[in-house]
């Protein structure tokens, strides 16, 4: 508490609120991203992130207002449209998933960049600084903007906390959930939509190009340290929070520095550390084969079955 007040005395109110808002975004991105990663939707999030630029630019063009809330709603709409295109391509063509994602990502990003550079070069009012959505720039956020980002983040996290049972069941085994009468496709859609929301509110912090890192890296770090879903959500949230906060702090020292790369670098350093040193899953532990699970009653007659699984596929 003493630290807080001491800090508040030295750091301007606006900076503090922005830091808190962006930290909330980082935390929420880690939590929501956990389900995105477990459901193997990291690349879908990346495509959605790259597609946000079109919406941000269009929102400015249509409304003529440079209000962050309006721009982000635009971004969310174009992110959802991109996801809809992914679904359509999957349904109506024989294009493979990875190719479909690459197509949607590059096409929507190309359109977005064209929009923004066209608007900037024509000097359309308010278009100056739109390129900040590319790599993130928290220094230009107002306290009002940050409050909005923080509120959306809090609501998103609340959704996951309330629907933890449903989200886990569907993320683990959608067929079982469907057979048990749960609307797995709808729950799945909500999870994907939440990822889209997170890449949108993460735009000011990390930018369209790098925001996926905020959704993907913290869960990857968390998975190294735990075998349970709730601890994974907590650790991912904490790593996201620290990464985002570091981004705000460091970029506020150097005004010209975009926030996104800093956020990514901080998160990545967590990842490198975890990949090597986490107990059991870390490379160091694995090479020393130090992690045997002792005293578990392993049935003698149950031997590894990878070979059988390969030969006997589904009918």
């Amino acid at each position: 508490m003493i630290h807080m007040t001491a800090l508040a005395a030295f750091i301007p109110y606006n900076t503090l609120v922005v830091a808190a808002g962006v930290a909330a975004v980082g935390c929420a991105a880690g939590v929501i991203g956990t389900f995105g990663v477990l459901r193997k939707r990291a690349l879908v999030g990346d495509a959605a992130a790259h597609a946000t630029l079109v919406g941000v630019a269009s929102a400015l063009l249509l409304t003529g207002q440079r209000d962050l809330a309006i721009l982000l709603v635009g971004g969310l709409i174009s992110a959802m449209v991109a996801i809809a295109f992914l679904v359509l391509i999957r349904k109506f063509t024989r294009t493979r998933d990875d190719a479909a994602i690459a197509i949607v990502l590059s096409v929507s990003f190309g359109i977005g960049i064209t929009f923004i550079s066209g608007m900037v070069s024509r000097g359309i009012p308010g278009s100056g600084g739109l390129e900040r959505f590319l790599l993130g720039h928290t220094a230009s956020l107002t306290a009002h903007d940050a409050t909005l980002l923080g509120a959306v983040s809090a609501i998103s996290v609340l959704c996951v906390v309330v629907g933890l049972k449903e989200a886990t069941m569907v993320a683990f085994d959608p067929d079982f959930a469907t057979a048990a009468g749960w609307p797995a496709a709808t729950i799945d859609f909500v999870l994907v939509a939440l990822v889209a929301v997170m890449v949108v509110v993460g735009l000011p912090a990390a930018g369209a190009v790098l925001v996926t890192a905020l959704v993907v890296i913290p869960p990857a770090v968390a998975r190294q340290w735990t075998e349970r879903i709730v601890p994974m959500l907590v650790i991912a949230g904490a790593v996201g929070l620290i990464s985002a906060l570091s981004g705000v702090m460091i970029s506020s020292l150097a005004v010209q520095l975009p926030t996104g790369p800093i956020v990514v670098l901080v998160a990545t350093s967590f990842l490198i550390f975890s990949v090597f040193l986490a107990p059991c899953r870390g490379i160091v532990w694995r090479t020393r084969s130090a992690c045997v699970f002792p005293s578990d009653s392993y049935d003698g007659n149950d031997t590894g079955t990878t070979a059988d699984t390969v030969t006997e596929r589904k009918s």
């Binding site: 085994d173 067929d175 469907t178 075998e227 879903i229 049935d299 079955t305 589904k314």
Partner: protein, 266 residues
């Protein structure tokens, strides 16, 4: 153990499970044609056929996991939507990510909590139900292990325990013996026999004729259409098998042998 007559009160004459002219197509490619048979009473029922015969699809179409192009499925004479809570599905083991951060206990609890309403996490009752289900499949000691650290046979039993925790009356199992060694197979079959003896219906997709002869009360031979269905001994004849596996001559001899051997032991 549990009275399971609540169902038959309303539809006394209706068979436990019946398929009427079931047809399924993936795109324009038909997978199942006019499959029409019924399972009147609780038993251990095998769905047998070659790879790509549509065995798994039959289960999935019965549970609305894939769309039906035609026909219908009835449980106790009723559509699925009205009886879901009394049915449990065991998907193929390789359909899920076993590196998922959940423990054995977490997965089995999903079976118990899947019967609760929205946002209800369950409590002591669900925990105890999960524990007793784990006990029935002999995995009570592994409840805190991450699911990826189990052998294939143990993973299959975790899936089975999750289904048991639903306290269902009809169990639909997709390839419960895939990638499972002989010892575990026997263990799993014993659990299924036990279930049947409690008056449950178990329908399992299966590919091995030898063990089918040994364990199943009745079978259906499927090769994109229904070849034959009925008591195991009557259905698994060399003629029926030849029809089911036609065009797959290399496996025919093997099957013939298996049937002979199975016939002698039973």
């Amino acid at each position: 153990m549990v009275e399971n007559d609540s169902a038959s009160k309303m539809h006394v004459d209706a068979p436990m499970l019946e398929w009427h002219d079931l047809t399924v197509a993936y795109g324009r490619r038909p997978v199942l044609w006019n499959v029409d048979f019924e399972i009147p009473k609780p038993c251990l029922f095998g769905i047998i056929g070659p790879n790509g015969a549509g065995k798994s699809t039959l289960l999935k179409a019965s549970l609305d996991l894939v769309q039906r192009a035609g026909g219908s499925v009835r449980f106790w004479g009723q559509p699925l939507a009205q009886v879901r809570s009394r049915i449990a599905y065991v998907p193929q083991r390789e359909t899920v990510d076993w590196d998922f951060p959940v423990t054995v206990m977490d997965v089995v609890r999903m079976g118990a909590t899947s019967k609760l309403g929205w946002f209800q996490r369950g409590g002591k009752r669900e925990r105890e139900l999960a524990l007793s289900s784990l006990d029935r499949v002999g995995l009570a000691d592994c409840s805190n292990r991450q699911i990826g650290k189990l052998s294939g046979g143990q993973q299959q039993r975790v899936f089975l325990a999750r289904a048991l925790a639903r306290e269902a009356e009809i169990y639909l199992l997709d390839e419960p013996m895939a990638g499972v060694d002989a010892g575990s197979q026997e263990q799993i079959f014993n659990i299924l026999v036990n279930l049947r003896d409690q008056g449950k219906l178990i329908v399992a997709v299966h590919h091995d004729i030898r063990t089918a002869v040994e364990w199943f009360d009745a079978v259906a031979l499927i090769d994109m259409r229904l070849v034959a269905a009925g008591p195991t001994a009557e259905i698994l004849t060399p003629e029926n098998l030849a029809m089911t596996y036609s065009g797959r001559l290399s496996v025919l001899d093997e099957i013939g042998e298996a049937v002979e051997r199975g016939g002698r032991t039973s």
